[in-house]
Symmetry: C2
Subunit: 368 residues, 2 copies
Amino acid sequence: MLQNPPAQPGMREEEVDTPALILDLDAFEANLDSMAAILAPTGAKLRAHAKTHKSPVVALQQMKRGAVGQCTQKVAEAEALAWGGVPDILVSNEVVAPRKLARLAALSGISRVALCADHADAVGLIEQAAQAAGTRLSVLVEIDVGAGRCGVSPGPEAVALASRIAASRHLIFGGLQAYHGRAQHIRSPEARTAAITSAVDSTRRTVEQLRQQGLECGIVGGGGTGTFRHEASSGVFTEIQAGSYAFMDADYAANEDAPPFRQSLFLLTQVMSVPKPDLAVVDAGHKAAPTDSGFPQLWERPGLTYSGASDEHGNLRVEGGKRPKLGEKLRLVPGHCDPTIDRYDWFVGVRRGRVECLWPIAARGAMS
Amino acid sequence: MLQNPPAQPGMREEEVDTPALILDLDAFEANLDSMAAILAPTGAKLRAHAKTHKSPVVALQQMKRGAVGQCTQKVAEAEALAWGGVPDILVSNEVVAPRKLARLAALSGISRVALCADHADAVGLIEQAAQAAGTRLSVLVEIDVGAGRCGVSPGPEAVALASRIAASRHLIFGGLQAYHGRAQHIRSPEARTAAITSAVDSTRRTVEQLRQQGLECGIVGGGGTGTFRHEASSGVFTEIQAGSYAFMDADYAANEDAPPFRQSLFLLTQVMSVPKPDLAVVDAGHKAAPTDSGFPQLWERPGLTYSGASDEHGNLRVEGGKRPKLGEKLRLVPGHCDPTIDRYDWFVGVRRGRVECLWPIAARGAMS
């Protein structure tokens, strides 16, 4: 069931029902502008990752500032975007289920869609789906540039798979997917640079080997919020796939050289119990604020620490600071923005303390 | 947006779209029967916790087997249950937001509702909401019996708050909420028994002190899947609030004396990449399978270990076992059933390999 919006335009922030996802619109727009400004002098364009924001509204604002399209991880996310008017979508992930491939092929009637492959059998399945739908699908080869997850090895393996795609009647070889997920949160800038230098080198080598076989990469995509400046300035990557930059979170803020974006995403939570002098309990536990990348943090409340989560409760330890009052509402910085946004049906856009807009998170829960 | 059902009745399980929440109906019904049989000889009744199942369909099946009602943690969960025909609901939690209290009071027109308090100011707010709605609300005093979360101290503090409730014109003193959340997953049976013995003792003492003031406890509620046999046989607790027992998860299975229930809840996931001989990647990461209580585990697939999660990918390490094939579907046992169920819009009920039913998870995301 879709949850009711927790607010109405015109309300003061402290009137918003909790827990709620607050988007500080000034900070959010500044982040979108900053990314556009950083990428402008490079050869790379933004194809922002919608697995973070899950919202056609956000996607279209990114595209107004120059993003060439959107990435998703799931076909259901691609559907939500296409149905919301996003014209160019890359599923930056493998899809092997025939039912999902049929849905993606069907979507190509209203938006440009592409996807990734890392196995010859998957290429065969995509070809079948494209043929059945009477369309042609663009397929990128994913290479493993250090993440240790999906992808063929850079070099000859990638060339062989690309050749197979190019030889398939209903497929178009679309380029390379080369995302180094693991590098995004390496805390030390030196170690992160080393990881991406290696990823860029193996990507460059693969692009050249493909070219020698007459295979041009329309897209060379990768780069997240932690590393995108390296990929963008490499001369090899044509598209940057950052998503978190629009929102930020505690995990990215913990990088030694945190990315140059403002915290725009907050969880508004209410103190529901003050059982002890050194303890306040809020109504956001790990269902409201997933803890896969650590607990959320208090925003501008020194002396208060989010010290424990159960399903629907968060414990705030009071150390030196003032204990918040029963009923008081507080802003939390999510530990990890992607899964946190995916818990909510609405962004509550706030500017100067007032609710300005409500945006549906149309791809909330879109895992298929 | 509500997600489409991942299956249709009559399908074979391996045809179900992934990721999906599979409910093994034989095991699920056996669990409901077992709980009814265990509680029958005790003085305690089941008021199952709907924060686990989030579904009026499940609630009504529990009630058919003798459960007296349902618990929720949130007003929005109570709404979903009441709208789905559940006649008796206890919000086993504090509620202090006037808008939420107004919603709960409104609900009392169609279902019997009660809630908890641990502060005199909260009692005042509940009284105002009940008065405004022209109704009377039943309020339980929550006591902290060791969880270190919400609740007043057992004994005189609890008596004082109960007296205040009883003296409020639109409130009824409903009894005590005495749940020891932290004890549920103490691995050693001896240490768990000690924790609950102490919780039972302080609850018994408080019930007696209340009685001396003429305050009878209609409900003395508590007990989860890890400890309920202690509370049920105590002679003090009248209601057991277990929820996970219907489904089970890897965290409960890790208790040294695991509760006597079968695993009925599974995540169906598909192998989307087989990039290395010792690695298969599935389409269920920590968005599909929250990791607050550890990674999910493979069901009946020795030699395969779920070794890492990113947002939408799970890494399976192959050690000795056979690597699953590209496209193969596997069952995972969730690390923690409550937040996992809360990620999905549908239970896919399966019996002997066939989809028998689809049940909406009506309170999915109901956090307000």
